[in-house]
């Protein structure tokens, strides 16, 4: 058995094949003094022209093979090559220091890359990679390196690299590309975007050692889980092959049926909806058959900025997402942020225990206007849609009463100002703290629904920081105490005629599906990519049988016992 290394899966699917360690040609830039500035400037001009023609060619190729959005990367690169400051800086150094063009290019590229890396926002920081990509190309052209002579795979392989620039990625022939795996990069890197549009499994941030991989070593890449297995055993290969075949067949069937409702064999229908955080997720959710949104995270509006997002901006951002979802039900979670994030204008400070501190709904005592503004924007943007709003991290009844009052005030204020305000908006809470799960009967009178956040409920019930790697393994939502709380929440809410959803990772885990169905859950909310499979699982279950399964599972003494018991119902 070879151990697997885990990173972030960014493009689903399983690839098995020889690994191809990709190392871009590294031209060692040597610095020469006493060069002829005129000669070096001419060399530079020629190299810039050559680089431009190469990139134009790549752009056309990308446009044909991949698409317009991806080709835009190269349009930006062309602008960099025309940048007056870039060119003036290089020529200035050549003139003043009388050094060779290669050394001057490298110096200027590193200067701009350094400035971009100093910025906070990930999207801005990612541009450092682009300017280095450009610099590398100009240096190739200066050194007469023919990038086309670079050895490229001819047989199907899984590309393993430290990081991949867009020019690296597009030069691979789609027909020999089984998968992409990089040590660096993130979910928003070019690798991730390109892999998804090519439909190739990919993982990023995978901490493997490039030097330790032997030439043509067999590897298995799981782009769903972000896992890489190097030199797998025969058993691991055959298991992966089975998984791959099953995955491909299942995925096709599931995707084809994804837009159909999730009805059990005995005719019970549940809602299967998506967890989303932006408009891109919303589009993906629809593609994967989401019947609505069970969790719209709104933190994106508040991050990476110095001032409160104004109401107009909030309205327009919400509208963009609401428009994609149309008349499907949509649950928005109000701001869920705390001392683990630096957002100065909200008055967040570093705290010794940010997950037990001043966060989420607890802000309303000191900063009610934050929630008031968010409610106003949501009510304005949500006119005519099936809008539901929920508040996170409730642990006391006061918070619910206060939030509800702020919601009423926000609506009244809009009416007074003769602005449109959404009507029939459902109001609910997240059940993520054990105290809330144990107080459903007291809270039910003030809400229309409950949504169980199993990730936090597990963390708070078991006293496990799930970001702490040494204990994260212990954080299982299948723990008997957690499923007792889930069972109690659903049961109590039902007696009060309130519906219950679940929006933690557990909702997207097919192992949990019979248990949650049996407990009486009404709404399953998950990552869009999990929707097709969970719907399929539901269609093969019988509610009556699931009730028995749930009853039996509630009697078991450990997470392991619960999981083992449930695994027999996975088909």
């Amino acid at each position: 058995m070879s151990p697997l290394v885990k990173g972030i899966g960014v493009s689903a699917g399983i690839a098995i094949g020889p690994g191809w360690v990709y190392r871009p040609i590294k031209v060692e830039v040597k610095r020469f003094d006493d060069c002829d500035p005129l000669g070096e400037t001419t060399r530079l001009d020629d190299a810039l022209a050559e680089a431009k023609s190469q990139i134009s060619e790549l752009r056309v190729r990308t446009l044909g093979v991949i698409g317009k959005e991806e080709a835009a990367i190269f349009e930006a690169h062309l602008m960099f090559l025309d940048d007056p400051e870039f060119i003036t800086a290089i020529k200035g150094i050549i003139d003043e220091q009388k050094i060779n063009a290669e050394a001057a290019v490298e110096e200027v590229v590193e200067h701009f890359a350094g400035e971009m890396l100093a910025l906070e926002d990930e999207y801005f920081r990612a541009r450092a990679q682009d300017i280095r990509d450009i610099g590398q190309r100009v240096i190739y052209c200066l050194s007469g390196v023919d990038t086309k002579s670079l050895e490229l795979p001819k047989e199907p392989v899984i590309i393993l690299a430290d990081d991949l620039t867009p020019s690296d990625t597009v030069q691979f022939d789609r027909r020999v590309l089984l998968g992409l795996c990089t040590v660096r990069g993130g979910p928003t890197s070019h690798t991730a975007i390109l892999a998804r549009s090519l439909g190739v499994p990919a993982a990023v941030c995978v901490p493997f050692r490039l030097d330790e991989i032997e030439k043509s070593a067999l590897v298995i890449l799981d782009g769903r889980e972000g896992e890489l297995t190097i030199d797998p055993s025969d058993e691991q290969v055959s298991a992966a092959k089975t998984n791959q075949t099953v995955w491909q067949a299942d995925w096709q069937t599931q995707l084809a049926a994804a837009s159909k409702p999730a009805v059990t064999l005995d005719g019970h229908t549940v809602e299967v909806v998506a967890n989303i955080g932006n408009v891109g997720d919303a589009r993906q959710a629809i593609e994967y058959g989401a019947e609505g949104v069970g969790l719209l995270r709104t933190e994106f509006l508040y991050m990476d900025r110095q001032t409160m997002p104004n109401e107009e901006l909030q309205v327009s951002e919400y509208k963009e997402i609401f428009d994609v979802m149309g008349n499907r039900p949509l649950v928005v979670r109000t701001l869920d942020i705390g001392g683990d994030k630096e957002v100065a204008y909200l008055g967040l400070n570093e705290e010794p225990n940010p997950f037990l501190g001043w966060r989420a709904i607890r802000m309303i005592s000191e900063r009610p206007e934050v929630l008031h503004n968010q409610f106003r924007a949501l009510l304005r943007a949500g006119v005519g849609i099936d809008l539901r709003i929920m508040i996170p991290l409730v642990s006391n009844l006061d918070e619910v009463i206060k939030a509800r009052q702020i919601l009423d005030e926000a609506r009244q204020a809009l009416i007074n100002e003769q602005l449109p305000a959404a009507e029939n908006v459902q109001f609910g809470i997240m059940v993520e703290v054990p105290s809330a799960a144990l107080m459903i009967e007291h809270i039910a009178g003030y809400v229309d629904f409950f949504s169980i956040g199993t990730n936090d409920l597990t963390q708070y019930t078991l006293a496990i920081d799930r970001t702490n790697e040494r204990v994260a393994d212990l954080a299982s939502p299948f723990h008997p105490a957690v499923i007792q709380l889930i069972a109690r929440t659903i049961e109590t809410a039902r007696t009060k005629s309130k519906w219950v959803g679940l929006c933690g990772e557990m909702a997207g885990d097919p192992l949990a599906t019979p248990l949650l169905l049996g407990l009486g859950l009404d709404e399953f909310s998950m990552a869009p990519t999990s929707i097709p499979v969970v719907k399929q699982v539901i269609r093969n279950l019988e509610l009556k049988e699931c009730r028995e399964i749930a009853r039996a599972a509630l009697g078991l003494p450990s997470s392991e016992a619960v999981k083992e018991y449930l695994s027999q119902f996975i088909v």
Partner: protein, 93 residues
């Protein structure tokens, strides 16, 4: 010298397409144009340089200052203001 202060409301800030549009517009005028990020208290840089504009790190909600000097300075400034105010041509209004 014509100069103005304005807030960038586009969701990506001066990045990607908005940054490219800004630089293209600036480059179409003969005058010298400089820009600085007031929110980040940055320095004035050449508005015709995409790299310089990106290194300003102008995020959504940041205020920027634009200075123009020379031939068609007023026209250039008006065109850039129009571009930012129209949210880089994405506003429906």
């Amino acid at each position: 010298m014509p100069s103005t202060e304005i807030t960038v409301n586009h969701s990506v800030g001066l990045h990607a397409r908005p940054a490219a549009e800004f630089v293209k517009t600036a480059s179409s005028y003969p005058c010298e144009i400089q820009i600085c990020n007031l929110t980040a208290e940055g320095q004035l840089v050449n508005a015709k340089s995409i790299l310089s504009v990106l290194t300003l790190g102008v995020y959504q909600g940041h205020r920027i200052q634009i200075d123009a000097e020379g031939e068609q300075a007023n026209e250039a400034l008006a065109a850039l203001i129009e571009l930012v105010e129209s949210n880089f041509g994405e506003d429906e209004k």
